[in-house]
């Protein structure tokens, strides 16, 4: 069975959220699952950090893969798991802060 990190990496997922729906079976189970996903999306969208923005940026595939590897290495070191996107944001933020000082 693949680990959460392996699935996240293969899907290039920017976030992973455990859902409180165990083994959804049949139409009603899937409705319950869909409702849980919708609730989560709504919670995330309605509680944004007020001083941050999200913008798509374009990177070479190789750079993105290296970011994934770096993010995974960070997770292995015992720190809280971060995504490649979060790592990219941290690197850019730090670079801009250093450049401005």
């Amino acid at each position: 069975m693949l680990s959460e990190e392996a699935i996240r990496s293969a899907l290039h997922a920017s976030r992973v959220v455990p859902l409180a729906v165990a083994n959804p079976h049949g139409p009603l189970g899937l409705e319950q699952l869909a409702a849980a996903v919708a609730r989560h999306r709504e919670e995330v969208q309605t509680h944004p950090s007020p001083d941050r923005v999200r913008r798509p940026i374009e990177l070479p595939v190789q750079t993105w893969e290296k970011l994934h590897a770096l993010a995974a290495a960070t997770a292995r070191a015992g720190a809280p798991p971060i995504s490649a996107g979060e790592l990219a944001a941290a690197i850019i933020e730090q670079y801009v802060l250093d450049a401005a000082s």
Partner: protein, 134 residues
């Protein structure tokens, strides 16, 4: 005479087969600008991909939903996603198979102008926002 409490799972003897994973993909009905997208085409693409990778998948008719896109001024987008689900055997759910699924989903994200593509695997939601062209 008081009836004993019934448990449908016991009566019908259903359970998730051992060693199987449930994959659920949400195929949206609109792009992030609120424009209708070719949902049927993408449902067919996801079904075909999952059928090829894990031997089968089912599309479940539309539910209804709404989400707020803060990157677009907090516009409310009303959604009628189609739920595509599949039970995958452990040996079929490989990193290579998921990378293949990602190629289809990232293409959908790019071409259908999506803010995020959602996949649930075994009770965890994986949000995809990086649509790398592979």
């Amino acid at each position: 005479m008081a009836e004993e409490p019934s448990n449908p799972q016991t009566i019908f003897r259903f359970a998730l087969p051992v060693g199987m994973s449930l994959i659920v993909v949400f195929v949206p009905s609109q792009d992030r600008d609120g424009q209708a997208m070719d949902q049927e085409y993408w449902v067919d693409e996801v079904l075909t991909t999952l059928g090829r990778l894990v031997r089968g998948a089912t599309a479940y008719p539309r539910g209804r939903g709404v989400w707020r896109d803060d990157a677009r001024g907090g516009a409310l987008l009303k959604e009628e996603p189609v739920i595509v689900f599949s039970y995958a055997a452990e040996d079929a759910l490989t990193a290579a198979a998921l990378a293949d699924l990602y190629r289809t989903l990232s293409r959908m994200g790019r071409q259908a102008n999506q803010g995020e593509i959602g996949v649930v695997i075994d009770g965890k939601y994986y949000g995809i926002t990086d649509y790398v062209e592979e």
